[in-house]
């Protein structure tokens, strides 16, 4: 009997090692108690993919770490379109590497949802967030309100414009610049909204092109060109302008009278997330009052009711918004990008 047992012991052990290795392959079970991992016991690695500027993402992560010191967050930052392309590549390579995503707009998340890359999570913090800026299925929720505005260089532009149409007029000939929808999610959203809004459409975009509109990769690069005076007018997200202005750059921020497209930089958890408790704690933190106050300090207009916007920016209730239908724009995003290539000829 005993020798027989001994002979079994080794293969059994080997089998156990193999199987425990398999189950440790990161199929974490979601937190079932609904508290969303609010206990301080979350730990381990958390992979955070975002399109936010490096510095802002870093500040969020540091504040999160003050609360949850045992989570090591690694950030991957690029333009929204590049981050989604990367996720698709990772999916093809076998497994997506991200736990949490924070990208430009709801359209991007609609597409990810359609591809079945997200998992639902209804954070307890959602009670203080406007319901129309949250996915009803709980796949993603907005984290801030960000308008695309006109930025001008005050050394070059003496009379501040009040309308988007300035981009088609002689005063901005060869002096305006916008981000590329092939790279920036905000820009892709704006193209979708402008091309479907009465009084604008592809014709308006075509006219800006004829007027010498330059296209550069991201919003940061647009801001740089306007701040340095290389260009006089820029189409750019609001917080960047407010921030540069506060630093002392010669720039001005204008909300045109026709209205502004807004994006909400939603956050969502990946279906294949390896560390769900930490991901949920991260989402809760970003949406909490503390996280939203920090976001306002960094310079974003907050999405949570009861947190006031930073100096120089309008809150969501004060803006005139150019509406966009996320589900519809999601279906058309690739064709919009192709159409943009046709009009702007790359």
């Amino acid at each position: 009997m005993i020798p027989f047992k001994k002979s079994l012991l080794l293969p059994l052990l080997a089998g156990m090692i193999v199987f425990s290795g398999c189950s440790a392959q990161g199929q974490a079970t979601p937190d079932q108690n609904g508290s969303g991992g609010a206990s301080s016991t979350v730990s381990g690695k958390l992979s955070f993919y975002t399109s936010q500027p490096e510095e802002d993402a870093g500040k969020l992560v540091n504040a999160f770490n003050d609360k949850y010191p045992d989570v090591q967050v690694s950030i991957f930052r690029s333009g929204t379109e590049e981050v989604t392309a990367k996720l698709q590549a990772e999916r093809q390579a076998g497994k997506t590497q991200a736990d949490v995503l924070l990208l430009a707009d709801a359209v991007t998340f609609e597409n990810l949802k359609k591809d079945d890359l997200l998992q639902a999570y209804k954070s307890p913090e959602l009670s203080a967030i406007p319901t129309d800026l949250v996915d009803p299925d709980g796949m993603y929720a907005g984290t801030k309100v960000m308008a695309t505005v006109l930025a001008t260089n005050t050394q070059k532009v003496t009379v501040q414009p009040t309308s988007w149409q300035v981009l088609t007029l002689p005063e901005s000939k060869d002096a305006s610049i916008m981000p590329s929808p092939l790279y920036s999610g905000a820009a892709a959203y704006n193209i979708g909204v402008f091309s479907r809004t009465d009084g604008f459409g592809w014709d308006f975009l075509q006219e800006t092109k004829m007027n010498g509109m330059s296209v550069i990769k991201g919003n940061g690069a647009v801001m740089k060109a306007v701040a340095s005076g290389e260009k006089s007018y820029g189409v750019v997200v609001d917080y960047l302008v407010a921030r540069e202005k506060a630093k002392g750059s010669p720039v001005e921020l204008i909300y045109p009278e026709e209205g502004v497209p807004i994006i909400t930089e939603p956050i969502g958890i990946m279906k294949e997330a390896a560390n769900v408790p930490a991901a949920q704690a991260f989402v809760d933190f970003i949406l909490s009052e503390e996280g939203q106050k920090l976001s306002a300090e960094i310079g974003y207009s907050p999405i949570r009711e009861g947190v006031s916007p930073p100096e120089g920016l309008k809150g969501v209730s004060e803006m005139k918004i150019l509406p966009g239908d996320a589900a519809k724009l999601a279906v058309d995003r690739e064709t919009d990008k192709q159409q943009f290539i046709n009009v702007f000829g790359e």
Binding site: E55, A85, Q88, Q97, K224, S228, E346
Partner: protein
């Protein structure tokens, strides 16, 4: 002799099959096994990726198709990219050839002073990573630079020439690559026998005629090979067009492939692959031409380079020296200082005054952004491991290649040259394709980790080490080994006491080259990096793309300081080595 005898015994052992109980046949089988493993490794790492890439470019929904190429040829964007690529490559090659050849002529033939310092100064343009040079020039000619202020002060309408243009890309690429031409030509010129020139002069030919009928024809193969080298380097370059061209919609083939893959993800793999095949084919044709030309000019290999000056500059010596030094300062030192001053600004649109100066950008990248630290650490680990792996594998292979040259290892050497010959972006794409799914249905899960970067770096830079080591072993006569063995030295003693001291300088030069190239690499890592595996080059590139120029210039300035420190250490080490009597 000894080897031959052993081989004979081995062969006989093989004939006798299993009858022999000596260890030699087993040793032979051992050798066979190593050769087999080596062959498999070469096929897997060097040949298979390229095959996969070519295959994908012809793969359609059902079977083989030309549709991807068809689609490309229909696109206006592809043709404009092709045009840009041709202009930029030709323009920068011509530019490099002119400057490089002129400087090589001066250093090779005249009695200008401080040649070794001049040599170092010229090499600086090439040692600096292309993106650092690019950032220097874009800050030097930016609308906020002091150059712009000076020009405006002269005349209100004057503005510096924008680097964000075709001309700018050609110019920066030219100054980055001319040292390649210079290095190549210097050697060619020094090997032209002066007695031929003298004979022609004695026969009554004028200086111009001598140059036209003697010097030029003899130097031509070498010059053309140097030109092709720059052509290849320009095709391969991704950093310069990515930093200067992308913001103004000027794409070249390498940046177009990058944008397709990064912007559209896997749906663009086939398009990227067909673009890559075209770009790769251009590079392979260029390399073949170069190789043929070098074979033609093989005759001069036996010549000793002649280092004595052939032309007295006389009164022109000082002005010419001053002009050259001023020119070198203008293309490197001044733009560099402009980049450093940019990194000290408080906000981008401001002039550089006392009130606007700050060290905040440095504080941020060093103490507030963990990703920068991670990147520096990653790059250091990557380049160290790559260097060590290449030292061991490359030198081992080089030893076999020199001591037992045969068809098989000649082919292997050719295969290992492929990843370096191909433009980096093409190679990186082939790596993604292979390591996503090496065998259908099996994912090793290394895409998006550091592992794929290790594999890619080692594959790409191995040939640099092989070439250096082969050169080292070639210079060492086999008689040295025999002498050591005859004197009773064992394997270990033979290597440590005799061979290594003689070989080390050459091998280590190769290792240093691999280390430096890997440390500042951008192209391959731009396609292969992921969160946690970013490299220094990628971090600078990301900052720049996001419009954080103050951070990208700060990090670049730090890298320049690192390279400078490394250079000083290397110089001290060389001094020390020569004093110890080991000559490289």
């Amino acid at each position: 002799m000894e080897k031959l005898k052993r081989n004979m015994i081995v062969l006989r052992g093989q004939e006798n099959g299993r009858k022999s109980v000596f260890s030699l046949p087993s040793l032979f089988r051992w050798n066979r096994l190593i050769a087999l493993l080596g062959a498999i490794a070469v096929l897997l790492f060097f040949v298979y990726p390229i095959l996969k890439l070519v295959l994908l470019s012809f793969q359609g929904e059902q079977g083989l198709t030309l549709s991807h190429y068809n689609e490309l040829l229909q696109q206006e964007r592809f043709w404009s990219t092709l045009r840009n690529t041709v202009y930029i490559v030709i323009g920068s090659t011509v530019f490099s050839l002119v400057i490089g050849t002129a400087l090589a002529w001066v250093v090779a033939y005249t009695d200008i002073r401080h040649k070794s310092a001049l040599h170092m100064g010229i090499m600086l343009c090439f040692i600096l990573p292309s993106y650092v040079l690019t950032l220097s020039w874009s800050s030097f000619t930016g609308s906020q630079s002091w150059l712009a202020h000076v020009l405006q002060w002269i005349h209100p309408d004057l503005a510096p020439w924008s680097m964000y243009s075709m001309g700018g890309i050609v110019f920066v690429m030219g100054i980055h690559h001319f040292p390649l031409v210079y290095m190549f030509t210097l050697d060619v010129l020094r090997k032209i026998p002066r007695d031929l020139e003298w004979a022609a002069r004695a026969g009554g030919a004028s200086r111009i005629e001598v140059f036209r009928r003697i010097t030029l024809p003899l130097a031509l193969p070498g010059l053309t090979a140097g030109g092709l080298l720059v052509f290849l380097a320009s095709l391969d370059n991704f950093g310069i067009p990515a930093f200067l061209g992308t913001p103004v919609n000027i794409s070249v083939l390498s940046t177009l492939i990058y944008e397709e893959i990064i912007g559209f993800g896997p749906s663009a793999f086939a398009r990227g692959a067909s673009l890559s095949v075209l770009l790769g084919a251009a590079a392979v044709v260029g390399s073949l031409l170069q190789w043929l030309l070098l074979r033609k000019s093989h005759a001069s290999d036996t010549m000793q380079p002649d280092l004595t000056p052939r032309y007295e500059l006389g009164r022109m010596r000082k002005p010419l020296a001053f002009a050259i030094w001023a020119g070198l300062a203008l293309i490197t030192i001044i733009p560099l200082s402009s980049m450093i001053s940019m990194s000290l600004k408080r906000a981008y649109g401001l002039g550089l005054t006392r009130a606007n100066m700050t060290l905040d950008n440095y504080r941020y990248i060093l103490f507030e952004n963990e990703r920068v630290w991670q990147a520096i650490q990653n790059s250091l680990v990557l380049s160290l491991v790559t260097m060590l792996a290449c030292l061991i594998i490359g030198s081992g292979f080089a030893y076999i290649r020199v001591r037992k040259p045969n068809q098989f290892n000649k082919m292997a050497e050719l295969a290992t040259a492929v990843p370096y010959t191909l433009p980096g972006i093409v190679f990186a794409l082939s790596m993604i394709l292979v390591w996503m799914e090496p065998v259908p249905g099996w994912n090793p899960g290394i895409y998006g980790t550091m592992t794929i970067l290790f594999i890619a770096y080692i594959c790409r830079f191995l040939i640099l080490q092989i070439r250096s080591s082969v050169t080292s072993f070639m210079q060492l006569d086999a008689s040295m080994e025999e002498a050591a063995r005859i004197s009773g030295a064992g394997f270990w003693r033979k290597w440590t006491a005799v061979l290594l001291p003689l070989l080390l300088p050459g091998i280590l030069t190769g290792g240093m080259l691999v280390f430096l190239t890997a440390l500042t690499e951008l192209t391959v890592s731009a396609l292969l990096y992921s969160s946690g595996s970013q490299t220094i080059g990628v971090t600078i590139f990301s900052f720049e793309q996001a419009g954080d120029t103050l951070y990208s210039t700060a990090l670049s300035s730090l890298i320049v300081a690192l390279i400078a420190a490394g250079g000083v250490i290397l110089l001290i080490a060389q001094r020390w080595a020569t004093r110890k009597g080991v000559k490289s």
